[in-house]
Symmetry: C2
Subunit: 333 residues, 2 copies
DNA sequence: CCTGATAACGGTACCGGTATCGGTAACATG
DNA sequence: CATGTTACCGATACCGGTACCGTTATCAGG
């Protein structure tokens, strides 16, 4: 059972390939009943157009390549659905690739994506190595670097400053009277944005003559279970801390569960702070502070930016779209 | 800055298009230094092959289309990364589409996916309407229906029986001595698999002369916050229940948080049961029962099934791969 | 010296569509 | 009646690769 082609549809309708093509695309210059005949023929053969041929011929794919580092965390799926949502009705289609937080892999995924001749590409962060950047540039399409603003963008840039987010959180926690602050994170060599938040946070502490009183870091990926485990380890050796800054909300939630089991009141005795503003944080039985990053909105913004660019490549809008995550879950004095 | 083509690479290397093609694909019948010249030329022009042309010409895309209903839940991203993982090294590439739990949308997404001439397609569940099934069949490629086994598969089928999962959980909860059982769910008209679990669960109750003592259902999508809210509503009018079966773990986790805030001991006074076996459930401060569905493994199995089929279309392996989710978080007597 | 095998490469015909340019028929217009 | 115009439709040339077959040069063997 072979796939039927336009040629076969045309033959069945008794017209030429060209006319069939026009009829199905709803172009003008086709008589009404001819169009109907073609439609019927297509229906009968359950014809599905071949986009390979279409795109090769018309020299545009309407494809948006998206490369994200992971899918196991909930944040990137949310970004992806934002992108998807922002693309509906534009005739564009997103295709995803996962780099597993690996530069090598990312380069290969990007190469692979580019071979599909996408009309635009979205990559995560702006810390790609030079050769990857070169490859991106040579594709001659709009490049959008998403999620992060701390660095020099190649082309377009949509995201938030993780440095600023870290600083803001540090300031807020200090303002809330916390001084004995510890850090809990994971996979720091992979998650560069978490590192940016942490170092910026530490910078604020240093300016006050403070520093993290303790750190617990391991090299697995962040998860609730790992946050719980690392927090337990931390508290075993440092029972007198009054605040923990986590690499993200998953870890912080695990931390909260640890505290609850140990009977430590949160946030009165220890304030927990994460990053992302996951929906989870709004339902937890005790508040954890977090920077609410607009993941869906960033995805949508990137998508919209692309559709705008496609509409009129001439008048260029802003090259950078800045988001600022508000801090929630922290009762400031 | 236009993309360079194979023709240009060939010209630069001083050979024909064909030879360049052979050289880059590592085929034999190319002299060693010719191959090197071509490689250098390709490098110099930072040549990236055009997969549209490749696939159109060679009549195979090595694309696996995947259609999932959602991305906001954590379960489908996990399935996707399973698929991705199972596909690495096979030369196949997964492309994703999101149907938003909407049959109409699903049909359009599938049509769209098929237009890319994928080598195989994975869809979620086996409750597609007839016209969608017809379209799938007419594509003439392997079709894999994933996640669910309760129904008649079109072609291949990988998943678990949600009916059985619901029944097993009911049996287990009854064995644990629970009798006043309530149900909390959401978006039931969308999530058919949750319905299958619930009705099967109710069937077991009915066989014992029991039924749900109360139900709380609304039509938003499941989330922790919604689970918390619905549980609060449920307990307000039914304070004497001893068990709640949820449509999934997100809802159940929300329920747990509700109970904790109300000071209700879990699981001694009320046992909470969900579905999925999210990582979250292993870190919560009180246990919730759940059927641990192997999401990643199912994705990987589907991917592996496809690569197997591609390798030798002749000898057909099993058409169905069955997973059985174990129940965790429940101390049976 | 002729033959045949082998290695290396090129030419041509596709793959399934769309762009572009023409062509034809029917009808209005001067 | 000649001449535009308009509405439809078809032929042809691509798009950028690969499949397939053919060609050429080189060299060993009889």
């Amino acid at each position: 059972m072979r796939r039927s082609t336009l040629e076969e549809v045309a033959a069945l309708a008794g017209v030429s390939k060209m006319t069939a093509s026009r009829a199905l695309r709803g172009a003008s210059d086709v008589a009404h009943d001819t169009r109907e005949r073609v439609r019927k023929a297509a229906e009968k053969l359950s014809y599905v157009g071949n986009r390979l041929a279409l795109s090769l011929s018309s020299q545009r794919t309407n494809l948006v390549a998206v490369v994200v580092p992971s899918m196991s965390n909930t944040v990137f799926p949310e970004v992806l659905s934002g992108i998807n949502a922002g693309l509906v009705g534009s005739g564009m289609q997103a295709v995803f690739g996962i780099s597993d937080y690996d530069e090598e892999k990312e380069r290969e995924i990007i190469r692979d994506m580019l071979s599909w001749q996408p009309s635009a590409i979205i990559v995560t962060g702006l810390d790609q190595p030079d050769d990857t950047v070169a490859m991106l540039k040579s594709a001659g399409i709009p490049i959008i670097q998403l999620m992060d603003l701390d660095g020099t963008p190649v082309d377009f840039n949509v995201g938030l400053s993780h440095g600023e987010a870290g600083r803001d959180m540090a300031v807020a926690l200090l303002a809330a009277g916390r001084r004995k602050i510890a850090y809990v994170g994971s996979a720091l060599e992979k998650d560069l944005r978490a590192v940016k938040r942490m170092t910026a946070f530490a910078g604020v502490l240093a300016a006050q003559g403070l520093s993290f009183v303790a750190e617990q870091v391991d090299d697995g990926f962040s998860s609730i279970a790992r946050g719980k485990r690392l927090t337990a380890r931390l508290l075993a050796s440092n029972p007198d801390i009054d605040c923990i800054y986590y690499s993200n909300d998953d870890m912080a939630a695990g931390g909260l569960f640890c505290c609850m089991e140990m009977g430590i009141p949160v946030p009165s005795q220890i304030v927990l702070a994460g990053f992302n503003g996951l929906d989870l944080t709004e339902a937890l039985p005790a508040p954890i502070a977090t920077s609410k990053s607009p993941r869906r909105a960033m995805g949508e913004a990137a998508a919209r930016l692309i559709t705008d660019i496609m509409r009129n490549a001439s008048e260029t809008g802003p090259k950078t779209i800045v988001f600022k995550p508000p801090i929630t879950g922290l009762r400031t004095v």
